[in-house]
């Protein structure tokens, strides 16, 4: 089973903690935070492959948080977690670049499947970027120094 890092953002403590436990049990590297603001802070310090983001939260809501996340970590895939009344928000989230949405109460297996797909997509995407960079370096070997300098800063 491939391992990837997951961030769960949900204001409902009982739900989030249980959810984190269950995902960890499925050999995922999972962290949970209770608000959009906290999530953005965490993203500054940590790298994640997939984020499970609740749409309806006090303070910064899901759609807003998503927008910020996409500027911070464009490659991280986000799965929106919606209630019945907020399916529209889920759809809006997808327009803003979320990978998919899933309705609460969610089935863990279904969610695992979606996360796997999201991770796959991300991996694929990163692979493409890497290929592109290699191609570029092949064309202009001198760029490798620029690359190193960029990564160094």
């Amino acid at each position: 089973m491939e391992e990837f890092r997951v961030l769960v953002v949900d204001d409902e403590d009982d739900f989030r903690e249980t959810f984190v436990n269950r995902l960890q049990r499925r050999n995922l590297d999972v962290d949970g935070v209770e608000s959009g603001e906290k999530a953005l802070e965490w993203l500054d310090k940590h790298l994640y492959d997939v984020c499970i983001l609740d749409v309806k939260m006090p303070g910064m809501d899901g759609v807003e948080t998503l927008r910020e996340m996409k500027t911070k970590r464009p490659l991280m895939e986000v799965i929106m977690l919606t209630g019945h009344a907020s399916v529209e928000s889920g759809i809006e989230g997808m327009k803003l670049g979320a990978f998919d949405y899933i309705m609460k109460p969610a089935d863990i297996d279904e969610l695992m499947e979606k996360m796997r797909q999201a991770h796959e997509k991300k991996t694929l995407h990163e692979e493409k970027i890497r290929q592109a960079k290699i191609k570029e370096l092949e064309g202009h070997p001198a760029r490798v120094f620029e690359q190193i300098r960029e990564e160094g800063t």
């Binding site: 959810f19 019945h84 009344a85 109460p105 969610a106």
Partner: protein, 551 residues
């Protein structure tokens, strides 16, 4: 409003309008009539007075002329000349050629004997007048007009006598007046069929023959006017009949001329006017009454219609605001329930995950735990579905707009349920209007509505029955009507209002969610139409979906 209130209001309108239109009409008619009749009566009296005064002048002139004729004759001829045989005859003949008013002429000496006589009654020459009342009177006053009397001739007549002094002697010139001529002058004042004119003396003795009542020298039937002074006109009731009397004194205040007029004849024009006025008035009243009643009826009819429309509008508003409130409530509940439900599901899932640990798997209660967790999962799922449907009712999903053939959409819905119906021995009859216009709507949502209603109909019938589906088009309101009637037991009146409420169900608990009709209601409303339900006691239920034609 109640039927009774309407008719009460109608009567109020009628009564008020009649009051305000009839009272002025009455007042106007009455005052005009009164004014007219007063002035007309005054005019009649005035006419009568003029007539009386004319007669008086004529009669007085007649008398003055006779007197002056006689006076002239007396004072221009010496007695001896008049006494001459044949001279008086000559004078009388001359007078007769001009006017036949004199019957005879006589000269009477101081002793009352005829000194000369000219006329048809030669017998009179022998008569001595010394003891006659007029003889003394003429000697006293010089001129004398007698009352009518029978005299020696046994024939009604009156005389005018003039005394003449000649030196120390005096003699009298006497003339008999033809009563016919005098009568004729008086009768000329008799007007109309019932008018009368006669003369009475100061003793109320008739001097001429009246047309009605009383003979010459008798007493008239009319009131006693013998004491009259000057000219007067008055209305007097006699034997229950009103009469107008004009009285005037004539012949040197000796006599009173009485002219009687029947006011009914005089007033005939005004009576005619009253008659036609009355007819006009009645016609006017009838027109006003008819107009008022018609207007009141039209107003009430309009009012009833407005009230009915308002009641329908109110009912519709109440229903739609109720549905909107229920929608909000449903959404709120769904959301609030959903969160704890998610937690429960996650906790159950976590417990299931933990059950996989070896030490627990060996426990004796492992199976019990597992099945309990499965049951929790199952019921969370069931609750989730309810919430899902509830939100389906509440959610404002924008309907798709496409051209829909209602008949075909209905056919698809019927196909879907036909097996179920056949199994329960329910016959579904369709009566589609051909060329039903297509409308812009959402066919899948409409199909859901039709399915819900037909499904309910099948459940209502249970077994053995009939469902009639009819489509119709009302070009006036530009709407399609889809009626779905079942032969079931019908819906009790008190429940009829609640059939569209969410979670209202007559089915056994667990059989239905009570959301089908409320979802249908929401769908049809979003599509711009409405659903009506009718359930005459014991004669099945009819749901009618009205959809506007939109292109």
């Amino acid at each position: 409003m109640e039927q009774k209130d309407y008719s009460k209001l109608r009567w109020k309108i009628v009564a008020t309008t009649l009051c305000f239109s009839l009272i002025p009409l009455f007042a106007l008619g009455f005052s005009v009539y009164k004014q007219f009749s007063v002035s007309y009566s005054a005019k009649i009296m005035e006419n009568l007075r003029t007539l009386a005064e004319n007669r008086r002048s004529t009669i007085n002139l007649f008398f003055d002329e006779r007197i002056s004729q006689l006076t002239t004759l007396a004072y221009t001829h010496p007695l001896n000349q008049l006494k001459e045989e044949g001279y008086l005859d000559k004078v009388f003949d001359i007078m007769q050629t001009r006017s036949k008013s004199f019957v005879d002429l006589g000269i009477i000496d101081e002793k009352g004997n005829h000194a000369a006589y000219s006329g048809p009654y030669n017998r009179l020459k022998e008569v001595n007048y010394k003891n006659e009342p007029w003889f003394a009177a003429v000697k006293l006053r010089g001129v004398y007009i007698s009352d009518v009397f029978m005299g020696f001739r046994r024939f009604p007549h009156f005389i005018i006598a003039v005394m003449c002094r000649e030196g120390d002697r005096c003699w009298i010139l006497r003339a008999t007046i033809d009563t016919d001529i005098f009568d004729g002058m008086v009768r000329a004042a008799q007007v109309g069929k019932k008018g009368d004119a006669f003369v009475v003396n100061r003793d109320n003795v008739l001097q001429t023959t009246p047309r009605f009542g009383g003979g010459l020298l008798g007493h008239p039937k009319s009131p006693d006017f013998s004491a009259s002074v000057g000219t007067r006109v008055e209305e007097i009731e006699l034997d229950g009949e009103k009469s107008l009397f004009a009285t005037t004194v004539i012949a040197k205040n000796k006599w009173v001329l009485v002219i009687r007029e029947d006011p009914k004849e005089a007033l005939t024009p005004i009576l005619k006017a009253r008659y036609s006025g009355g007819l006009l008035f009645i016609a006017g009243v009838l027109i006003i009454v008819a107009g008022t009643v018609l207007i009141a009826r039209a107003m009430i009819a309009h009012l009833i219609q407005v009230d009915r429309e308002k009641a329908m509008l109110d009912a519709g508003l109440v229903q739609s605001s109720k549905m909107a409130a229920l929608g909000k409530l449903a959404a709120g509940i769904a959301h609030e329930i959903n969160n704890p439900l998610s937690v429960i599901k996650e906790k159950a899932g976590w417990m299931k995950d933990l059950l996989e640990d070896e030490d627990i798997a060996g426990s004796t209660s492992y199976k019990e735990f597992e099945s309990s967790i499965d049951k929790i999962d199952q019921h969370v799922e069931r609750a989730r579905k309810v919430i899902h449907r509830l939100l389906g009712f509440a959610r404002r999903m924008e309907p798709v707009h496409e051209m829909v053939d209602i008949n075909r959409t209905m056919d698809e819905a019927v196909d879907f349920l036909e097996n179920e119906a056949r199994y329960r021995n329910i016959d579904i009859q369709t009566d589609y209007l051909e060329n039903l216009p297509r409308t812009k709507s959402d066919s899948s949502q409409l199909q859901q509505v039709f399915l819900n209603i037909i499904d309910n109909a099948i459940d209502a019938i249970g077994k053995d029955g009939e469902i009639n589906i009819k489509t119709d088009y009302d070009p006036r309101n530009r709407q399609i009507a889809i009626a779905i009637a079942d032969s079931g037991p019908g819906i009790p009146r008190d429940m009829l209002k609640r059939v569209f409420d969410p979670f209202f169900s007559t089915k056994e608990s667990g059989q239905g969610t009570g959301l089908g009709l409320s979802i249908s209601y929401g769908i049809v409303e979003r599509l711009g139409g409405r659903i009506a339900v009718e359930s005459p006691e014991g004669r099945g239920t009819t749901f009618t979906v009205y959809l506007p034609i939109e292109r």
